[in-house]
């Protein structure tokens, strides 16, 4: 793993994570562009994602659910704002009810992905921006927080299994 930079700006409620991957840009793009690849990393190890719809075109939707250890499901969606394979993707990222209908009570964040290749490696810059402080607090206090934290604790186990 090579996270090279993390910029957190409390004044704009944004988080920017810059990562270098040892793979060409077309390959890294597949992590987002191929639903079967996307579901292997989007959810925490304890809450794997299943991607249902995957329409990476402007105005298109990606829908997914994450399944918790007790079988509980958390539904989510992206609305694609702009896409330029294999270099950039802009989406709005929100939650949904069990029928996949967007939940207007829960906050929507925006996410931008930018990929660029140099010497066979790919630099990925992911920027998440939160619409308001309330939204940020709400996301963090949601039940999923526990799942996400558990996921962090289990990362070592998961990585060891993969070797």
């Amino acid at each position: 793993m090579a996270v090279v930079d993390v910029v957190k700006d409390p004044a704009t409620l944004s988080l920017q994570v810059t990562t270098d991957f040892e793979a060409p840009v077309d390959r890294v793009w597949q992590l987002w562009g191929d639903p079967r690849q996307l579901e292997r990393w989007w959810g925490p190890p304890t809450h794997p994602a299943t991607v249902v719809d995957h329409e990476l075109v402007p105005g298109g939707r990606v829908t997914y659910f994450m399944t918790g250890p007790g079988g509980e499901r958390y539904h989510g969606w992206w609305e694609v704002l702009a896409v330029s394979a294999p270099h950039s993707l802009d989406v709005r990222d929100g939650f949904a009810d069990e029928h996949g209908t967007p939940d207007s009570e829960l906050p929507v964040t925006s996410m931008r992905v930018e990929l660029s290749e140099a010497d066979g490696r790919t630099r990925a810059v992911v920027t998440s921006v939160f619409p308001s402080t309330e939204a940020m607090e709400q996301l963090i206090t949601m039940g999923m927080e526990e799942g996400l934290r558990a996921a962090m604790g289990q990362m070592d186990v998961v990585l060891a299994d993969g070797r």
Binding site: V3, P10, L15, V17, W41, E137, G162
Partner: protein, 154 residues
């Protein structure tokens, strides 16, 4: 960046004062919580909004980073910036409302001190999100390592 600088001071300051740091961010996020906490005033709904709006101004960020290091008088601060004493006082008032700083009288002077706990709370929220992304990046790297050339729809 000034904010980063100010935020960077917070853990040391908190450690020096012997306060717990781990629960404060959660306290901000989980409002309302038991009133026993010293930070009870920080948990009001909308408080975080006040904090972030207060931090949105570069002069105020600079004031915060200075008074986190050492208590300073309003007049000493006023000498630092190309603006009137009254203007600086207004900035301090905005920071005070957000509980980022507190003011006390000392003779003829008003001394301003920073509250690192509040900054720490905001930073804590972003830390959680950073954890999520670090976890995702680990998984992405693993997928790339295991599966260097997937076929279409693999």
């Amino acid at each position: 960046m000034v904010v980063e600088l100010a935020l960077g001071h917070a853990p040391h300051e908190i450690a020096a004062r012997g306060r717990g740091t781990r629960h404060h961010g959660a306290a901000l996020a989980d409002a309302p919580l038991p009133a026993a906490r010293t930070a009870a005033a920080h948990q009001e709904p909308g408080h975080l909004d006040l904090v972030l709006r207060a931090l949105a101004d570069p002069t105020r960020r600079d004031i915060v980073s200075r008074v986190m290091v050492a208590e300073l008088s309003v007049s000493a601060l006023a000498e630092t910036y190309p603006m009137s004493f009254a203007a600086v006082q207004k900035h301090v008032a905005v920071l005070e409302r957000a509980t980022l700083v507190s003011k006390r009288r000392h003779g003829r002077e008003q001394l301003v001190a920073g509250d690192p706990q509040v900054l720490q709370g905001v930073h804590h929220l972003l830390d959680r999100l950073e954890e999520t992304w670090r976890s995702r990046v680990e998984q992405m790297s693993q997928v790339l390592a295991e599966d260097p050339t997937p076929g279409p729809g693999a």
